[in-house]
């Protein structure tokens, strides 16, 4: 049984339904959760953190369901979102007090050290913080206590590349002992390209695929060629063909029976390109 097991999560809204989402994430690994805006990433994560209650399905963290022990369940999750959830008129000191009150494993000294390192002001109200500072504060709050899993929902969106790099290193430190995992939803796939072990791709509330990232990268080639080189036979085989006046670009599944004509240019795709072409292919 893996650290995070999600089985059959379903949630119906007026205009959107999250349908039968299942996956597992073993301890010590990073899973990227990718998809378009509105595809269901936040809904899935909210169902896992229990910000919303799923209509059906179960989630277990280290074997524990929310219903079995809501306190331990919530304690085991460190959540970092794209907007600050700290009450905006509170200060860093207030937040430290609250964290100390509610989380027995909270390390106030480590928190202060991190706040100092990141130059987060002690007495200013949270609403005066920049976006980057707010994200760092959420990280400090999550990292300075014992958690089993970090869940990030678009946490790096809108941050400058240097800060994002710092955060990615933090995530790798977090999983370094092999006992913790990270679930990282984003539409900035460069962040996942290097460090994600698994990728879950969701579209319109349903799973498209959930595989080890390396396997996904090996499953496709990005091919490009001239307009005449796109035979109907080839076009049927390729995924998400994008045509322009002087050529085309598409994904070629490497396990295809049909060999790739040598005239075409073939290169390794990025996760981003794979996702984009698959989405195009589904339209």
């Amino acid at each position: 049984m893996e650290l995070l097991e999600v089985r059959g999560i379903t949630k119906k809204y007026a205009k959107f339904t999250l349908r039968d989402i299942s996956f597992s994430l073993p301890a010590g690994y990073i899973m990227g959760y990718v998809g378009r805006n509105g595809a269901g990433k936040t809904t899935t994560l909210s169902a896992i953190t229990r910000l919303i209650r799923p209509d059906s399905g179960t989630v277990t963290i280290d074997g524990l369901r929310f219903e079995d022990d809501p306190i331990a369940y919530r304690d085991s999750i460190g959540y970092i979102g794209d907007s600050s959830y700290f009450p905006r008129r509170m200060t860093l000191r207030d937040i430290r007090t609250v964290l100390k009150d509610f989380y027995p494993s909270f390390d106030a000294a480590a928190f202060d050290a991190l706040a100092e390192k990141w130059e987060l002001p002690d007495k200013a109200q949270i609403q005066t913080y920049s976006r980057g500072m707010k994200v760092k504060l959420m990280f400090a709050a999550a990292l300075c206590r014992e958690t089993k899993i970090l869940i990030l929902d678009e946490a790096t969106t809108g941050l400058d590349p240097r800060v994002r790099r710092e955060i990615l290193k933090l995530l790798q430190d977090y999983i370094a002992d092999g006992k913790h995992s990270v679930l990282f939803s984003t539409h900035i796939m460069e962040d996942l390209q290097d460090i994600a072990d698994y990728i879950f791709f969701i579209e319109r509330g349903e799973k498209v695929f959930c595989e080890p990232k390396d396997d996904i990268l090996e499953s496709y080639l990005l091919v490009k060629g001239g307009p005449e080189e796109l035979t109907p036979e080839l076009e049927r085989l390729l995924i998400g063909v994008e045509k322009h006046d002087y050529g085309f670009q598409a994904l070629y599944p490497t396990d295809s029976a049909l060999a790739l004509p040598p005239a075409l240019s073939a290169e390794k795709p990025t996760i981003d390109q794979i996702v984009v072409h698959i989405l195009e292919g589904r339209e």
Binding site: G28, Y29, A176, D177, I195, A196, D197, K213, D214, K268
Partner: protein, 127 residues
């Protein structure tokens, strides 16, 4: 130990890592008995995923270059190792196949090829 990942490379990342470590072991840059960084430490250092480094090490282990030793970590195996010899042998064969195929294209016969081999071997020994 030096590891450089090139995204332009045709090889998947795990293969690049494995190849570079393999090279350095074969040339002795990484000595036998050396302890390699753990899978996770390496992943964190070069900024790739854990599964990637796991696979790289897995391949190297299968080829007989490294082994996981309880309590110590991942260790570079001695170079008189049987599996290692096989690796070297395979490389020799590959190079010789290349040479043979080129020789045929150039119209050289077996004797001429052997002469080249002898001359090269002799000059290597002098160095």
């Amino acid at each position: 130990m030096k590891i450089i990942i090139r995204s332009q490379s045709e090889l998947p990342i795990y293969a690049q890592i494995a190849e570079q470590i393999r090279e350095q072991i074969l040339t002795g840059t990484i000595p036998e008995g050396a302890v390699l960084p753990s899978i996770r430490a390496l992943a964190r250092e070069i900024g790739v995923s854990v599964i990637t480094t796991t696979r790289a090490y897995g391949d190297l282990e299968k080829e007989g270059f490294i082994a996981a030793v309880q309590g110590t970590g991942t260790v570079v195996l001695s170079r008189d190792n049987e599996l290692l010899r096989e690796q070297y042998l395979k490389r020799v064969e590959d190079s010789l196949m290349d040479a043979i195929s080129t020789a045929r294209t150039a119209g050289l016969d077996k004797k001429e090829l052997f002469d080249v081999l002898e001359a090269l071997w002799a000059s290597e020994e002098e160095v």
